[in-house]
């Protein structure tokens, strides 16, 4: 590929640079604002990017985790810190559950020749179609009155697991198909039972697929607002819910809320830089057959 690199018109590089600036710009502005005092935000003479930065906003947001008491915080509001912990609990447990259950199902579907792969990809696409807003009413009703899971972690985790399962099964299937069956047969010969074959032979091989699926599920659980808003109680609120609650106030403290938003955005940004290739593969898999 690199051997073919010809001299290209510099205009293309300018275009690429402009596109990069356009897509990163708003994020950079949020990052910059999160280091700004509220006075500076409202002062028209202070530039958007050049000002004296402060970490006060982050101290305010994370005050209940700090080992010292920031001088400028009169009253430490634990809402956000708690929400951060909640988001982590919900995201990690639902990702773990979805992956475990999902790869067992994917394995069974591939190796024991159940329904065709067609049925699963059909379900995946159908699920992609269902908007969370459509699930809102029934999930709220059932979780509250029949399962008794409202205001608990379990309720939120259950719906996220269900929402992500079809996609995870679908993407893991394509990885499991590539595992050579001879490996599994050899393990069988040595006297391993189906569960041992699965956990000790198959799982280690499909690690890249598991990583891609984990990023997708964690991101959805971490970012989701609508169902979390309907199902969570005072003590189980996740970060997106607290953000929406705090912007309905009239007097928005932009610095603090941008710090909150930045903390919510950091994990997905990290994932993007670590695994952009897998993410693109997952994204294009549905449309471009290859």
């Amino acid at each position: 590929m690199s051997a073919q690199t010809e001299k290209q018109n510099p205009a293309f590089y300018a275009l690429i640079a402009a596109l990069v600036v356009m897509s990163v710009g708003p994020i950079a502005l949020m990052l910059a604002t999160s280091f700004k005092t509220n006075v500076d935000v409202y002062d028209a003479s202070v530039s958007a990017f050049f000002f004296s930065p402060t970490i006060k906003n982050y101290e305010t947001v994370l005050c209940n985790f700090l080992w010292y008491e920031p001088a400028h915080v009169d009253y430490c509001d634990p809402t956000f810190g708690r929400a951060l912990v909640n988001s982590l609990i919900v995201g990690l447990i639902s990702t773990g559950l979805t992956l475990t259950i999902g790869c067992m199902a994917a394995y069974a579907l591939v190796r024991f020749k159940f329904m065709g792969r067609g049925a699963v990809s059909m379900t995946t696409l159908l699920m992609r179609m269902v908007p969370p807003a459509v699930l809102l009413v029934p999930v709220f009703g059932i979780w509250t009155f029949q399962y008794g899971l409202d205001q608990t972690y379990a309720g939120i985790i259950l719906i996220y697991t269900a929402m992500n399962l079809p996609f995870v099964i679908w993407i893991l299937q394509s990885f499991i198909v590539q595992v050579p069956i001879q490996l599994e047969e050899a393990a069988r010969m040595d006297g391993a039972n189906p569960f041992q074959v699965f956990f000790l032979v198959v799982l280690p091989i499909i690690q890249p697929g598991l990583a891609a699926a984990a990023i997708f599920t964690f991101r959805i659980a971490w970012n989701e607002f609508l169902l979390a808003n309907a199902l969570s109680g005072r003590s189980t609120r996740t970060v997106p819910v607290t953000i929406v609650n705090s912007i309905t106030e009239y007097d928005i403290n932009w610095g603090v809320i941008m710090a909150t938003g930045m903390l919510l955005a950091i994990p997905p940004i990290l994932f993007t830089f670590v695994a952009s290739k897998q993410i693109i593969t997952g994204m294009t898999a549905g449309a471009v057959k290859g």
Binding site: M104, A105, V137, P240, I257, I280
Partner: protein, 307 residues
Amino acid sequence: MSVAIKANRLTPYMFLAPAGVILVFALLYPIGYMVYASFLDWSPSQRIGQAEFIGFRNYVNLWGDEAFRESFWVTIRFAAIVVTLEMFLGVGLALLLDRNLKGMAVLRTVFILPMMIAPIVVGLMWRYMYHPTVGIFNRTLKSMGFEGVPWLSDSTWSFIAIVIADVWQWTPFIFILALAAMQSLPRSALEAAEIDGASEWQKILLIKLPLMMPVLIVTLLLRLIDAFKVLEVILVLTNGGPGLSTEILALRIFRTAQEFQELGEAAAMSNLLLMLLMALTIGMFAYNRVQEARVARQRAAAEKDDD
């Protein structure tokens, strides 16, 4: 020994059972329940058994509801405008940048960022940028001596504002898919055209675009389905206002359930939205089928010629 055989026969079911149980109880059942709930007069304080069965009255009410029709058209307008813009921009950029350039890997990585970040945060960033006094747009306009624009307080401008934010977030999706499709095109066709002396425009219009059409149509439908699901960004930016100018259907469902506490009516709306999306999805499947059948037929014909 017989126990072992039995265990082996049961294994597939044991592997499938957890997924099956979760999908049935937490996904299929709620969706079925929603269809039933759309025939009820139901408020959140009631158990579903206490809610009154009112037949199609929720649907009839929706039909006569001025506000619902308004938000239905807002949804259609939003989806149509946004998807058209994104398709033109995304495919156009892909055509422009389909060559060996150095920064492409960086561009592709950076381009996914807007899609990975929480929609709530995307809304937050844009709300800050659209702010009448401290937002970067109005600040820039004012420093150049123009009047500020009432981004989120005027009904026309607020619609434009949510369109811009959505285009920013989702054009990369189309770009990445179109670029992937373009790079898997058969080189031979393009080379043949080059030998025949086709111009750059002819190559694009007569070869690249027609060959990419199947992927582009699937991309369009995927994006269209997603455009009907947009909610959080608009919720944070405008909360559907001013008036009903940006209240798309998903947002209206949320507000009907949350603020007006009309669960039955919200379920009826959900049902309508779901049927709309179902029609789109079935259209996509049908298109895929037709396409595959055509490719198979062509291949069969080609093989016959070889014989």
